[in-house]
């Protein structure tokens, strides 16, 4: 890890800005749900903010990502428009998917967010196809497949890793290992210690990093992205992290190891990065506070506009089933 490239001060600040947006947006979503204003299944990414923020600073708009039901952090980091996000969460016609997809199927091709799936393990086979398209286009774009530790036990993971290595696809397999697959801990789902060890079986590099550490995560992502852009093929990154709000918001969480949870909360990456920015003189306390205030204002504007927007017309049931409207 010591030989990884490190983010410079400006990049570190950029990572914090993305991560702060994710955190504050998550907190606002939960408040709105608790107030009964948003009704949806919500898989909170709170605690996993650093991972997508640290990879996205090395991605372009036209690099592809596929993500999963717990994916709003991946999208916001890559630049998902906040207004369209909130309108979609509110089921409005002005949402990015016209209110027809919801939180588990957010899509924004102009920012490279091609597919969001609600099926564990299904982001990887499709990310391969996007990588194949990118390779045929010859433009050195990459495709990032986001998934969790649970998905590493699904057949599609193995099929996809093998095919990506075989075809030297520009794919980054980004396993966000938050230690629980729904309610099942690692101890109940595998005997190997590291998911990244599985990369060797397919002939690709595999690394396990502390996904909550912006230096490590940025470095591992940059190396993998550069390898993919150079046509050298895929990499598996296992980014260790923790989810503070369980699998599905509202669950009882009895399956959770209380000591593990407490330890993870002590290591919350957000206050740590915030304090570091100030300590290292990258940004003053006032500057960081101003960033956070601006984010709050952006969220205010997005949610206000979302609630004022109309719901989709029922005629939408006949549109987008096929390219041609059905009778």
């Amino acid at each position: 890890m010591s030989n990884y490239p490190k983010p410079d001060a400006a990049t570190l600040l950029e990572i914090y800005k993305k991560a702060a947006l994710i955190k504050q947006n998550d907190e606002r979503i939960i408040k709105q749900m608790m107030a009964g204003k948003l009704v949806m299944p919500y898989y909170s990414p709170r605690g996993q903010e650093i991972i997508p923020s640290a990879i996205s600073v090395s991605l372009q708009d036209d690099d592809y990502i596929c993500t999963i039901y717990r994916g709003i952090h991946d999208m916001l980091a890559k630049g998902f428009p906040l207004g369209e996000l909130w309108a979609e969460l509110a089921g409005r016609a002005t949402g990015t998917c016209k209110g027809k997809g919801g939180p588990m199927h957010l899509t924004c091709p102009s920012k490279g967010m091609m597919v969001t799936t609600g099926i564990v393990g299904s982001s990887m086979p499709i990310a391969n196809g996007l990588g194949w398209a990118a390779k045929l286009d010859g433009k050195n774009r990459v495709s990032v497949a986001n998934f969790g530790d649970g998905a590493a036990n699904i057949g599609a993971f193995h099929e996809s890793m093998n095919m990506a290595a075989l075809w030297k696809l520009p794919v980054i397999f980004l396993c966000q290992n938050n230690l629980y697959a729904e309610h099942t801990s690692m101890a109940y789902s595998r005997v190997v210690e590291k998911i990244s060890d599985r990369a060797a079986a397919y002939g690709m590099p595999g690394v396990t990093v502390n996904g909550n550490d912006p230096d490590e995560m940025y470095g591992a992502a940059k190396v993998a992205i550069e390898r993919a852009r150079a046509g050298e093929g895929p990499t598996l990154i296992e980014a260790m992290t923790f989810r503070f709000n369980g699998h599905l918001l509202g669950e009882a969480g009895h399956y959770m190891d209380k000591a593990l949870y407490a330890k993870a909360q002590e290591a919350d990456p957000m206050p740590i990065l915030r304090a570091r920015l100030i300590a290292e003189g990258i940004a003053s306390e006032d500057a960081v506070t101003a960033i956070e205030k601006e984010i709050e204002a952006r969220i205010d504007a997005a949610l206000t506009a979302a609630y004022e927007a109309p719901f989709p017309d029922v005629s939408e049931l006949k549109r987008d089933v096929f390219a041609e409207e059905i009778a």
């Binding site: 016209k98 086979p125 194949w132 599609a156 996809s160 093998n162």
Partner: protein
């Protein structure tokens, strides 16, 4: 430009091969992937893709590991990324393996994204009983897909339609399941290289007494029975559905309105098969015009059996179709 004026005689598998060649030639975005599709692996287990990788290169024509989820996933991703992949799932029973990719993703991404992403893939697959292949190599499973919004289902009965429907499927903006009947692969027929629009049935034989509606090999069987019954003065109209979803209600209803009697035939298991939907729509629309209840012919409610007498009894044969026609005329 593809020559659409010359009539050539080809087998079904030759017509499919020609359609793939012409589509790849016409559009550099057309890709082919699947198990054994490239020439080093003999260009497909039945030779359907023979010659493609030699002519268009192994970047566009890729043999894959036996990884059906990865095959369909790669096709979906490439399609979302602007390409037109033709994925081969060797046998229709194997399609149970990548059902998540097909049903949850290929069929739904356009709707779930509010029209932002389309999935213009074709999934070619072959099936059909008659070769003693037993319970996992010969099923007709079209009803699974006809029941799924967002994917089209086509099933040609002859080489000309196979060519024309495959060209249309490749150029369609939505996913298309292209079902090939294995026992029909080597039956020759005229091919004009005209595109056959998806969603349009064809009156394969005109008649006045009864309408037989079917697809794939059942059309061939029905045409044979119709010829036989003509000698008895019975006039059978045969409608070849060609597209199973979205199906051509107008052509079917116009025919049954004329004859007043209908027999729906498919090789799939009769229970909950597409014949039930077609019979229902006929009854809803032509109640009062029908002279008899709609007859349905389909396979037994069992797995495809191995032993020859059982296999023959399992699937509709010309004599069972003939019996259903006679029942409709009673």
């Amino acid at each position: 430009m593809t020559d659409t004026t010359t009539i050539t005689k080809m087998t079904m598998i030759e017509a499919i091969n020609a359609a793939l060649h012409d589509a790849m030639e016409a559009d550099p975005k057309v890709l082919v992937l699947g198990e054994e599709v490239a020439d080093p692996q003999e260009g497909g287990v039945m030779g359907g893709t023979k010659g493609l990788s030699t002519r268009f290169g192994e970047d566009r024509v890729k043999s894959t590991p036996i990884s059906e989820q990865a095959i369909i996933g790669a096709a979906i991703g490439a399609a979302v990324g602007g390409y037109k992949p033709v994925a081969e799932i060797m046998l229709m029973n194997f399609i149970a393996v990548p059902m998540d990719m097909i049903v949850n993703h290929a069929a739904k991404l356009r709707f779930m994204s509010g029209g932002q992403t389309g999935v213009p893939i074709v999934i070619r697959t072959m099936t059909g009983s008659g070769f003693s292949t037993g319970g996992q190599h010969a099923d007709y499973l079209e009803a699974w897909f006809a029941h799924t919004a967002g994917i089209k289902v086509v099933a040609p009965s002859n080489p000309g339609d196979a060519y024309g429907l495959l060209r249309a499927a490749i150029d369609d903006p939505d996913p298309v399941l292209f079902i090939e009947n294995l026992p029909s692969y080597w039956t020759p027929g005229p091919v004009t290289k005209e595109v056959v629009p998806i969603g349009k049935a064809k009156v394969a034989r005109e008649g006045t007494d009864v309408t037989v509606i079917g697809h794939s090999l059942m059309v061939t069987h029905a045409l044979g029975v119709a010829e036989k019954l003509a000698a008895e003065g019975i006039s059978v109209e045969v409608v070849d559905l060609r597209t199973i979803s979205p199906w051509d209600r107008e052509t079917v209803l116009a025919s049954v309105r004329k004859t007043g009697r209908a027999v729906v035939v498919h090789e799939a298991v009769k229970q909950f098969g597409i014949g039930a939907e077609i019979a229902s729509v006929i009854t809803e629309n032509l109640w009062g015009t029908l002279k008899r209840p709609v007859e349905r012919v389909g396979a037994a409610f069992s797995a495809v059996p191995f032993s020859k007498p059982l296999e023959t009894a399992f699937a509709p044969q010309p004599d069972t179709i003939e019996a259903a026609i006679r029942a409709a005329l009673a």
